[in-house]
């Protein structure tokens, strides 16, 4: 009898009436054929697969993860809130042990949306995984979380949100930034001074096939997870590594996605990108759902799949091995890297420039963080968007030590009100958010 070995929760929200604009890849049609395939397969009838209705994420949910400028309502639509709310519903189902794991098949995606969000970049306005992760940490008191981003684009938003957080391991595997939006995610990008090595970025050469992806999973991601020992594993399940994706240059396939899911065993998967809506998404999503539920997926093969044509070259294999070796050596040295990064108590400054391709905004940031060995460290971000506002966001991390909490309030209180349009304080230990 057909039955899920693992009870699996699904939120399916294709937002059939929402698009960025009519011909944009992020449009109504995107999950239409996926819905057709999943419905025709009778997925929702399988005992042990439970479909949940999404909920609306609240401003409070977003305020745990991001500074929205000027506020949450201005930069989101209902669809963004339902997408983030869908991920939250899956989190509740998994954390409440109603299901063993869950998959939020929602749109629009979120992984390019950063700690400060002035609008849309890379089709993302708010970061749905980060909102979900912060919700889980507050509501269920989970300490160590790993986010594995398998979207073909560097998950730079999630990378940025957890940049200073040693308790959240973020690993992104993606097409090499020299050939692909957003142009970041190189091996040297390892996280902030208090969290070096808790962000790992694995660029893959164009033309990487199933062999290469599974090599990275087996030889890098799984050993790192073993060492990190997360309480929860989240997969940002982008599906644009597919050999037919119009925006990327990779050779991954539905069988590969299903195998990756079986190896990774995510507690929660959240859909990110993936724009080969007819030839890839119906099969990839089906493969991921079956893999999560522990149902045989060997029959899930694209009609035009030809493994011979998709084989990766020897030089690609070599490049991937070299990258994996490099990442593994960074991981092994992470504690040393952290202690070399600065002296506790001092403030370190970094400058960043961020371009919002979807909304055509240019942002300049100056970030100051307190070096700390006891927690992720409080920090402030001075952010000026053009066109847009000039704001200051102060973040006190969820496990902040006494000194960092004090420093966070000092950042907030000493900030000159006349310099900024708005000043925000995200006090995670108190789960509160203040604006002045």
């Amino acid at each position: 009898m057909l039955k899920a070995m693992h009870k699996t929760g699904l939120v399916f929200f294709p937002a059939f009436d929402w698009a960025i604009d009519p011909t944009h890849p992020e449009r109504e049609e995107r999950l239409l054929y996926t819905q057709d395939q999943v419905t025709e397969e009778g997925i929702f009838d399988i005992p042990g697969i439970i479909e949940y209705k999404p909920a609306l994420a609240t401003p409070k949910d977003i305020q745990r993860a991001q500074f929205c400028v000027p506020d949450e309502q201005t930069i989101t639509t209902e669809s963004h809130l339902i997408s983030a709310g869908g991920a939250k519903v899956i989190a509740d189902a998994v954390m409440g042990k109603e299901v063993q794991n869950g998959f939020a098949l929602v749109r629009p995606p979120g992984h390019h949306s950063m700690r400060v969000s002035h609008g849309g970049r890379g089709f993302c306005h708010i970061n749905i995984e980060a909102i979900m992760v912060e919700y889980i940490r507050t509501r269920y008191n989970v300490k160590r979380i790993a986010i594995i981003d398998t979207d073909c684009h560097h998950g730079d938003g999630t990378d940025n949100i957890f940049w200073h957080d040693p308790d959240v391991l973020f690993i992104s595997m993606h097409q090499d930034g020299r050939t692909m939006f957003p142009g970041t995610g190189f091996p040297g990008e390892l996280g902030g001074p208090n969290a070096k090595g808790s962000n790992l970025n694995i660029p893959l050469p164009p033309g990487t096939s199933t062999e290469g992806y599974l090599y990275v999973i087996n030889n890098c991601v799984l050993p790192v997870l073993d060492a990190f020992k997360p309480d929860l594993v989240v997969n940002s399940a982008g599906q644009d590594n597919h050999y037919t994706d119009p925006l990327t240059n990779m050779n991954f396939c539905a069988q590969g996605y299903a195998q990756l899911t079986t190896l990774l065993k995510p507690d929660i998967a959240v859909l990110e990108g993936g724009y080969a809506i007819e030839g890839a998404l119906p099969y990839v999503n089906l493969g991921i759902i079956l893999a999560m539920a522990g149902i045989d997926y060997t029959g899930v093969v694209e009609p035009d799949y030809n493994p011979e044509k998709l084989k990766q070259s020897v030089s690609i294999t070599d490049k991937i091995k070299k990258t994996v070796d490099q990442i593994n050596s960074f991981w092994a040295q992470r504690l040393q890297l952290r202690s070399d990064a600065g002296t506790p108590g001092e403030l370190q400054v970094r400058h960043r420039e961020i371009y919002y391709d979807t909304d055509n905004i240019f942002e300049r940031q100056k970030e100051r963080i307190r070096i700390c060995r006891d927690c992720g460290g409080s920090f402030e971000i001075d952010s000026r968007a053009m066109p847009g506002r000039h704001i200051l966001g102060v973040h006190i991390p969820i496990n902040a030590c006494k000194n960092c909490i004090e420093k966070g309030y000092e950042f907030f209180e000493s900030a000159p009100a006349d310099t900024y349009d708005r000043i925000y304080l995200m006090d995670r230990p108190k789960d509160s958010y203040h604006i002045k």
Binding site: W18, E40, D45, K53, G299
Partner: protein, 557 residues
Amino acid sequence: MIIGLDVGGTHTDAVILSRNGIEKSIKVPTDPADLFNTVLSGFTRLLASIDPSQIQRVVISTTLTTNAIVQQNMEPVGMIVSAGPGIDPEFFRTGDHYYAVSGSINHRGREKAPVNEIQIQDIAKKLKDAGVEYVGVVSKFCVRNPSHEILIKRILNKFFKQVFLGHHVSGNLNFPRRIATTHLNAAVFALHKSFFEAVRKSLAEKGLTIPIQILKADGGTMSLEASMHFPGQTVLSGPAASIMGAIPYAPEGQDVIVLDIGGTTTDIAFLVDKAPLLEPVGIQRGRYKSLIRSLRTDSKGIGGDSALRVSDNVLTIGPDRQGPAMAFGGPLPTPTDALVVLGLMDTGNREKAVAGIHTIAQELGLSDEQAAEKVFKACCTIILKKTFEMIDQINSQPVYTVHDFLEGYKLSPQKILLLGGPAPYFAKKIEDLYQIDTLAVPESAVANAIGAALARTTCEVSLNADTEQGIVTAHEEDFAEPVSKTFSEDELMETAYNLLREKAINSGADPENMDEVEVVEYQKFNIVRNFSPRGKIFRTKMQLKPGLIKGFEKMLH
């Protein structure tokens, strides 16, 4: 005058209605071993002293197919399924004669792998040798492109009595359910056909020659001819008959709970503005899931004859029935005995009822009266709890658009209608306990027959237009037409309405009762490839809603 006849598990009820109300009603015991004679004796008693030429409409609801499924008394059927990529079709095996074959159609209806005709011929030979006479053919995504099913049927036609195709079953996607439903239609076809041909013949001998209508699980009717193609649709028409019988008493514009309290179970259903809620995909009972349109009903194993027991000081009710109430000679105390003890019912043997409830009362350490009260209250509570669970479930049904998420209909019933024997006794109690306006339907003992008599013809069409491929289709109706790039929503709706009307007339609908057309679903998508528009996909489902025929309802008030 019109006739409704409902064959139930224990009783068969029939009524003759005129525009003045109930002219005659009868109740005869059902003989499960001989349903034909049950139906016949029902008609004989009903038509005694009635001029058959006065009868304008006959609707029959039977348990024929339901019994055949329960007793596994079905024709062996050959099934040929082609799946293409996806879940292994072996999981959906219907029996010994089940073959998964090559050939594949994708979600857009494009052929991805051809049918292997030699393979089909080999299977045809094997089925023939095994003595199989009926075959079902189902291909994945046949509702988008049925050409493989049609090709396979062409090969099989000369070998078998009848070949049933998956795309005729429903316009809905769901390959496993389509396999189960096609199999069911093929498996009960011979039984259904011989039964109703015999009924038609006998009624003609009695001078009743008007076309017979058959009640479906969605609370609508279809002509006898139409039923021959989809006999599976008659499954569970019994609960549907009762629910339709409650509609005359439902207020307009309100949400209503309908509870049919029977001997062993209570059926639960909902009306929205006098129209019953339907299952979103099709009938499901336990592991059995189909694409058969059906009223949304669920049942709870509590009825007037449920067995009462006490173990470890805890009272349990049902889910089994060990016979009638002790007041009527049964072996175990039941909720009906509690009603007798409380003095609410004055039929049956009161002494025996008291003796039964007394054993329960002793174990619970209560007086007889208190124990009976506890039983009665527990019955109401359990049934209502299940009802509220169903409402929550209906209201938390997933939706796929922002609009439906924000504006979607929320079911919030303000009234309860009760059917079944114990209904009058329960009404006041439920009203007291839950403060919801509760009414026991008058004539509730024959509400099922009234529901059958008054049910109008229902049907649904599903259309899919794809202007990139230049086609609008409703394959369930064997309909496909070319369309231009400028095909519009208005043209789609007009096409859908014409198809629906034609289907309704063919199913025996009276044109006077065809104004309750509803667009169940409408979606439009731009097809975009490489950032440029290539066409549009339109989808719609249109239905004739279940409801009552005009002209009779008022007299029942």
